[in-house]
Structure formats: structure tokens, C-alpha cells
Symmetry: C2
Subunit: 282 residues, 2 copies
């Protein structure tokens, strides 16, 4: 049976009963419109914890004006079926006014590590992400929280927040789940026309090309990124936001690989901004 909580108080009541029984809690924060990527997170959380809370919340404070807050796809009935099928028993589905007081004025800021990649073009994005994830971790009192590696910078930023604030939760990163043809699963893939859907394959092809070069011994960021960009630029529907190589632990630009690195990209396919990445040497 799936319990739906719409306010923090409702969710906390369920959680406090679990905690009183000494049960462990897994948290899977999502923006809904769930796909097999989310499903893999929920199943892993179910396997590793006594109880799992999935949050379904399109968080307004991580969107900037002009981004796709209003059009972000939503289908809560389908989400509930997927969540229940994956074995979670609590879904937290608040409205923005349930989660943010009108005079809310507290933000969790992770500096430095948020300056590169998505932080460059989305300067208030990670502040919104960290604030809502901090809230969800507090509401759920989670022992473990699950994040996809597709949002790799987000995963690094959340790990840093949890470490720096001495939070009592283990952050678990999970592999990217892809369509059969390679496209990374994303709720935003639904924005793509048939023609754009084909063009979007340049992202995973660039990932594969970058991986191939690095596994063959290439250690120059310029060479790896150059090959990846060339491949993407050959696609007329694609426009690069960024293709970059950074250190995986602190998200700083890398010229020559000598430790774990994140190679990440954001690419517009038509009007849709897609991201993909790989981690090398972890």
C-alpha cells in the first residue's frame, strides 16, 4: 500500500512511526514523470533500507525565469504506479506552498564546486537543489539518499553539502540508465520531436567517443573534448552549452588527467537542454 503525504507534517508522522520501530529509511528525491532511471534508484533504495520515501516535487526555486518550470512534464498517477511497483511505501507530493512558507528566507549554498558546468549558466540552480534536498533529508530523516549519476554535478554538490553540514545520511550515486540506442533517460526527452530524438543521440555518441579515447590512453582534456565537440557540432539541430572536463571530487577544470575526472556536457537539441556525462578513473 502506497501512502501519499502532501505536507511535511504528514510525511514526518509516517517517518516518526518508522523511526520509533528502529527501521532504516531510504530517500529518493525526484521531480516526477518517472522513468526507468528513477525506478532503478527506488529499487536500490528498497533493497538497502527497511522503508523508502520517494518525493515527487517540481521544485520552483531551482528553476530560473525563462526555464521550463511551467512546462516540466507531470503525471502523478503514472508516478504512483511506478513507485508502488518498485516497492516504496511512502510518496511525498507537496505543492510549493506546502513546502515553502510565504516568507521563507533560508538557503543552503554550496560554493566553489557549483561554479563550473551547469552552475555557469544556471547560477541559482544548485542553491535551489541543495535547499530542497536538505529539507527532504530532514523531513525523511533518511539513512540513505539516492541520486542518479546523470546529474553528476548535483551528486557531487549534494555529497559536499552532507559532508560539510555533518548530516546523518549516506549519499548513494547510481549509474545512468539509457535507452537501447544510448540516449540517457530523462523526463525532458518527452520534449523532443521525432527528428530531435534522433539528433539527441549525439550526446551519448560523444560520451562513447570520449570514453573510447580515454580508455585508449588519451590524457589531454583538450584532445578529448575537441573530439567530442566536433562530433556534436556536426549535428545541425545540436547547440553546445558546455562540454567540459573537471576533477570529480571538487569540480575544477582539468587540463591533463591525473585523477578521477567528470566529463560532462549540456547540449540544446532544438529548445530542449539535455545533459550527459561519464566519470573516468573513479
Amino acid at each position: 500500500m502506497l501512502t501519499v503525504a502532501t505536507t511535511p507534517e504528514q510525511a514526518k508522522q509516517v517517518i516518526s512511526e518508522w523511526k520509533a520501530q528502529g527501521l532504516t529509511v531510504g530517500l529518493v528525491p525526484t521531480m516526477g514523470y518517472l522513468h526507468e532511471g528513477h525506478e532503478s534508484l527506488i529499487k536500490r533504495a528498497v533493497a538497502e533500507n527497511d522503508r523508502v520515501m520517494v518525493s515527487v516535487f517540481v521544485n520552483p526555486i531551482q528553476f530560473a525565469p525563462g526555464e521550463d518550470l511551467e512546462t516540466y512534464p507531470r503525471d502523478f498517477e503514472a508516478d504512483k504506479r511506478l513507485i508502488e511497483g518498485a516497492g516504496a511505501t511512502l510518496v511525498f507530493h507537496p505543492e510549493p506552498a506546502d513546502l515553502y512558507f510565504p516568507d521563507a528566507c533560508t538557503y543552503v549554498n554550496v560554493e566553489g564546486i557549483t561554479a563550473e558546468l551547469c552552475g555557469k549558466t544556471r547560477p541559482t540552480h544548485f542553491r535551489g537543489v541543495c535547499t530542497v534536498v536538505n529539507k527532504l533529508m530532514n523531513i525523511s530523516q533518511a539513512d540513505r539518499a539516492y541520486f542518479g549519476q546523470k546529474d553528476a554535478q548535483q551528486l557531487a554538490v549534494i555529497r559536499r553539502m552532507v559532508r560539510d553540514l555533518n548530516m546523518n545520511v549516506q549519499v548513494v550515486g547510481c549509474p545512468i540508465v539509457r535507452e537501447e540506442d544510448g540516449l540517457a533517460k530523462s523526463s525532458r526527452n518527452t520534449y523532443l520531436s521525432a527528428e530531435e530524438r534522433t539528433a539527441a543521440l549525439v550526446l551519448s555518441r560523444a560520451v562513447a567517443e570520449g570514453q573510447r579515447l580515454m580508455e585508449a590512453g588519451e590524457r589531454s582534456a583538450a584532445t578529448v573534448l575537441g573530439a567530442m565537440k566536433q562530433l556534436i557540432e556536426a549535428e545541425p539541430l545540436a547547440r553546445i552549452d558546455y562540454v567540459e572536463m573537471v576533477s570529480w571530487d571538487d569540480i575544477k577544470p582539468v587540463e591533463t588527467v591525473d585523477g578521477p575526472v567528470l566529463v560532462a556536457m549540456a547540449v540544446y537539441i532544438g529548445k530542449t537542454r539535455l545533459i550527459d556525462n561519464f566519470i573516468f578513473g573513479e
Copy 2:
């Protein structure tokens, strides 16, 4: 028996044993050099919780360059005696390097409510306070945390942080403890020369004058504050940083009283900056 933990891991180990037994935990965050004001917080925490953790930590990130970080008084042996005498069983006494990683980059910011009063002259102060208190709340997993009303803006800011981040801790504000002649107890009183110690009484006399006027029905902030300032300005060793009236819930300037207000001041006595306040209509 008093246990001294110097790292978050040591403190968390003690706390997790308490939590496994279902015990409630009270937290009293301090900067040490404890006096009867702190003692009253610890005793209340002991009365209201199964176990109490007192932290003794002069938090560098809430001091700005030029403030009194280096000279802030310290006496850990005396602090331990007071803490044990008041009935707490765990003291958390880290060095800055135990609490902050060299690459720590996460801050908790409460905006708006931190703009007035002490926030005007100490613009990074509350960011440092909120960040360390958030960490201490996570380390202690406190059910209740105790703060003196002498730092009234701090109390309001911490309450707002806990509310906005859905933290699982109750913030308890406790009354100002004063010397027999009225001076609010403060670790910084030790900076005062004999002559300054006498001059410092203008703060509590101004508080008493403001309270007297408001209890007599005065509702104009300008009138109340004017009388208080006149009294302070008559003292040659005193220099006003601010004397202000703000709404108690959101720390916004008030012209005419029509709800709970905080009347707060910061006054230099020689080189020592002292604060005092009263709340009216709560």
C-alpha cells in the same frame, strides 16, 4: 561523569548510543567561558531532556577580520566544571580543523531577517552562526536546542532556519540573566576595565527606561528609542552602534508598535561591543 568529544565522529558515537536507547537529547551551543547565563540554559536542557550535549567552540566563521576571534576569552577547565555541575554529560569541544574541512564550501544563509541590527555591521556573522548551529544540530540529533534571548536576533534567525529547513529540533529561547546591578551576563564583560564596567550599566538602564515607557503606553518607536539613546549618549565611554525597534517575528523596522517587538542595542564601551535588549508584547 563528563565525556569530552573533540571530533564530530566521537560526539556522534555517544549520541547514536543515546538515540538507540530512545533517549531525548538537548543541545546547548556555546563559545565557552561560561557564566550563569549559559548555566541557566544547561540546567533547563537537563530538566527537559534525557541527555544534554554542550558544545564549546569559538566559531571562526562568525567573526569578521578585525573582530575579537583571537582574544575571545577561553577557560575550558572552568567550563567543564560548570557543565558537569549543571548536569550535562557530553561536551563537544572541537578545534576549527575538526569541524571544518580545508575545502569546506557549504553555508546556511538566512536572508532578510539578518539584514537589520547586528547584520548591518556584521554582514557575514549570521551565515557563520547558522552554518555552525546547523552542523551542531546534525551532530547532536538534538530534540531541543537552547539559546539565550540576549542574542535575540540570533534566536529569531535560528528559529527561522529550523522552520524553513524542516529540521527536527525545537528551538527554546531562554531569558537574559543579569548581574545584580543589571548588566547582562556576557563572556565579553571580562574585557571591561573597572571604569568601563560602571559605564556599561547604561545598556541595562536604557533597557529599563524603554520598558518603562512602553509599559506606560508609549507606542512610538522614535520616542522610545530617543529616550534610550539620550540616556546612553550621556555616558562618555559609550558609543552607540545601534538602538533599534523591530518586529520580533521577522526583524523588520517598526515605527508604531502594533505587535510583538524587539528593542535591541549594540553599544561600544571603550573597545568592547556589548548588546542588550527586551521583547515587548510577546
